[in-house]
Every structure is written in structure tokens, then in C-alpha cells.
Symmetry: C2
Subunit: 272 residues, 2 copies
Amino acid sequence: MDEALAALPQGELRDAMAYATVGGKRLRGFLVLESARLHGLTEDAALPVALAVEALHAYSLVHDDLPAMDDDDLRRGMPTCHIQWSEATAILAGDALQTLAFELLTDEAIGDAAARLRLIRALARAAGAAGMVWGQALDIAAETAAQAPDLKAIKRLQGAKTGALIRFAATAGPLMAGDDVAALDGYARNLGLAFQIADDILDVTGDEALTGKRVGKDSGAGKATFVSVLGLDGARAEAARLAHDAVASLADYGDDAENLRDLARFVIERDT
Amino acid sequence: MDEALAALPQGELRDAMAYATVGGKRLRGFLVLESARLHGLTEDAALPVALAVEALHAYSLVHDDLPAMDDDDLRRGMPTCHIQWSEATAILAGDALQTLAFELLTDEAIGDAAARLRLIRALARAAGAAGMVWGQALDIAAETAAQAPDLKAIKRLQGAKTGALIRFAATAGPLMAGDDVAALDGYARNLGLAFQIADDILDVTGDEALTGKRVGKDSGAGKATFVSVLGLDGARAEAARLAHDAVASLADYGDDAENLRDLARFVIERDT
């Protein structure tokens, strides 16, 4: 990311973009690299794609944390972008990180023009008003709705809000290679929901010092989550079932997919 | 635009995106269509590019109008997006309009994969942290700077904030065709500054009923503009000189470029 940012004009905007991309679990970047490796692609080819999905994810966090959205002051153990800088700079840094994500996908190191266009179209669909941003809009609408969303509605919401980008990341390899995305898409659909359930569990049981963000926020606000609908034990059981299904999706990849299997097991046991 | 938006899930997010793209002068879309025609491309090929640049421009207006940015309540004769809907919806609608712009540029109707990638890279550079968003960040920084920007600094700022996207639009034709962009880029560089000077003049002399946005806002806030630095007569003379240079850049296109010449003349005489 440093190299991509170094090409930009100096100033607070670039500093805020760098700040927003530091730290984090790099789950999505890891998925891109593993997915590309499974489809015979080099790390040099996959790296700009991994950076693109992390830039896109960083933009979404910066905007989600804004006062008009989730109004969060702590992220990755540090003040959120609008606290560290200003609301205007946070809006602009998020905007420019989204642009940077698409620019990174034009990198010739990724592959031929057709491969890059497949990635760009897939990222746009995952990120836009039928994907991640749609999920965020549903989430905001749910907070003021008369009726709390049921399990099906929460799955639809989270499938868009966090799932779409995870699915893009996990299918980046077959997208680049022009191969079938079905197995990795199935893996990512299950992984994404398991990941979100673990997030909801951590909101109730987690430690701010470990998670690097405020806990008890969603449950305290009476927000409908997987835990509020399924209970703690029910949520844990559902996450375990989803992680199992994620692992099962990888059968055809054999031993090569062991890192992705480990990830699915880790996701439901994490404490950060 | 209606067709692109119709493919999205129904709801307030899509409604706000549609709201934000209604009206306006369509200057950038017009530049794309004319530029494409001059380079032998069909309107079918140019239309997704024109829609993309208008979507990108609409996103920038929605975010610029936010309370944390320019805090405007009137745009194109209607309440701004965050007034009509909410701040959260305006942030998300802007975000999704930027995504939509890049998705539109993947349309196969535009041309081969290489042509589409040239456009995507050029739009990313024009829109991001070295282009439009950088200009907006400079503009915000200038408001709180101890020293008002001089003419050179204002030209640099506006060359990025409004100029970069106008240059993208005007060079879309040669970008699609793989031709030299120099003549149209020269035209657009001059046109963009002339357009911005006319905007600053209208902020002082304009009529809200005609412009559809608040006037006297920049001058009232003591903001450095072309008018505050050059005076009204000086600004008018500079705009006329730039429009003349814009026209002169088109010499090699002959009579085919008459619409673009008319536009350069219109830009400095407009009252909206």
C-alpha cells in the first residue's frame, strides 16, 4: 500500500488514507492471495488485487465510522479517521481509497485486459448499491424500523454488507484465471456469515483491548444481531455449522486449500 | 442513467442516487459525446462513458454538499441530497454513485478491453487523491489557512477540483480510440478554468432562481476565488482569454469541432 500511496500528492489527505489502511486483520487480502495461489497465479499478479480489496475495505470502515453512520471513535485500536483528522478529511480519504481500489485493478501485473476487467466489474458489483453499500443502507434502515429484522433479513443484510466483498476476495483467483468461481464462492458465502456471527459474539463477550474497537455497542443499542436472534449458544452453533460448510466447499482443492480451511476454523475461535 | 439504476435493489439508496443524478447542465456528458464523435466513435459506444462521468460528478456534488464539507442546502434548484434524505443516505448514495461510474466503464458497448481499461485508469486518476478529491482537500485546507491562496494556487486547486474530470470527459474520445489526447486536453484545461471563473463570477452576480444553488456563498465567506484575486473585470478578461485559447486548441479538428467551440463561448456568457 505504501508504494501506491507514495505516488499521490503529499498532505493530510494522503496521510489520512495511509492511517486508514494501517493494521487490521487483512482477511480480505489474505483471501485474494490464497485464492490466486490455488489457481496457479503468482503473488506478483495477486498483490495489486489484495491491495485493492484492502483499500476498498478501509474506505468502507472510514465511512461507516462517521458520526452520521455508526459514529465510532475507536478502530483497530486507534482513534477513527474522523477523530484523528476531521470529518471532511475522513469523507475525502474514504472517497479516494475507493478510487484507488479501482485504479489498482488496472495494474498490468495482474494479467491481461480481460482478466482485469472481470475483476473491476466484480468489485463494482460487490461494493456498490447492490452489494456492500446496499447492505450498509439496509443496516441503517433496520435501526429505525418498527420491527426488528428476523434471521433471514439479518443474513440478507450481512450477506451484502460484509459478505459481498469477502466473496469478491475469495473468488479473485478464478476470476483472474477465467476459471469457475463456484467452489470458492460457496466457501466465502459461509465464511462471511461465520465471520459476522463471530463479530456479533465478540460485541457481547469481547475485550476492547484485543478487538481494538468498542464492544457492547450493538447489543447496548438494542440492535438486532445474530446473537440477539439466536442467543449466544445458538449463534456459536450456527457459526460452527457455517465454518464446517465452508471447509466442505473446498474438497476439490485437496491439500492445497489447507490455509483456507484453517482460516474458517480460526474465524469462529478468534478473540480479535 | 435510469436503466443503470433500474438494475439496483429498490429502496431509499437507489432513490437518492436517482435524485442526485437528475438535472444539471450535463457539461461532462456532452464533452464525452462530442469527443467520441470527433474520433469516429458511435453514440452507443460513448453513452456508457457519458453516464459514468455524470455519475462520478453527481457523487462529488453529493459529498461536497455535506454539512462537514461545503454545507449546502440547495443544488440544481432542489434540496441537496442530505436535506432531502439524510446525511447517512447521502454519504452512501455518493459512495455507490462512484462505484457505478467504474462499473459503467466495463460495458462492452464501449469498445475492446484495452480501451475500457484506458478509460478506467484515466477516470481513477482524474477522480482520486491526485485529482478531484485532492482539489477538494486543498479547497478545504485553504479555508482555514493563515494566508489566502494566490492566483497560481487557485489555478492548481481548481485545475484538480473541477479541471481533472472535465479533462477526462473531453479526452474520452481519443482515449477510447487510442489516439493522441493532446489537443482535446489543451481545450479542456482552458475550458475548465474558464468554467470555474464563470462560476466564481456567478457567485457574485448570479441569480439563485437561475443557478439553482445559493449565490454569494463563497464571496460572503471571504473565500479566495478568481474574483477575489482578479476583481470582476479581471476575472471576466481571464475567462475570455482562456475561452479563446480553448477554441484555438481545436484548430486541427476543423468544422467538426464547432459544438465544442460554441461551448467554450457559452461557458463564459452563461447565467446558470
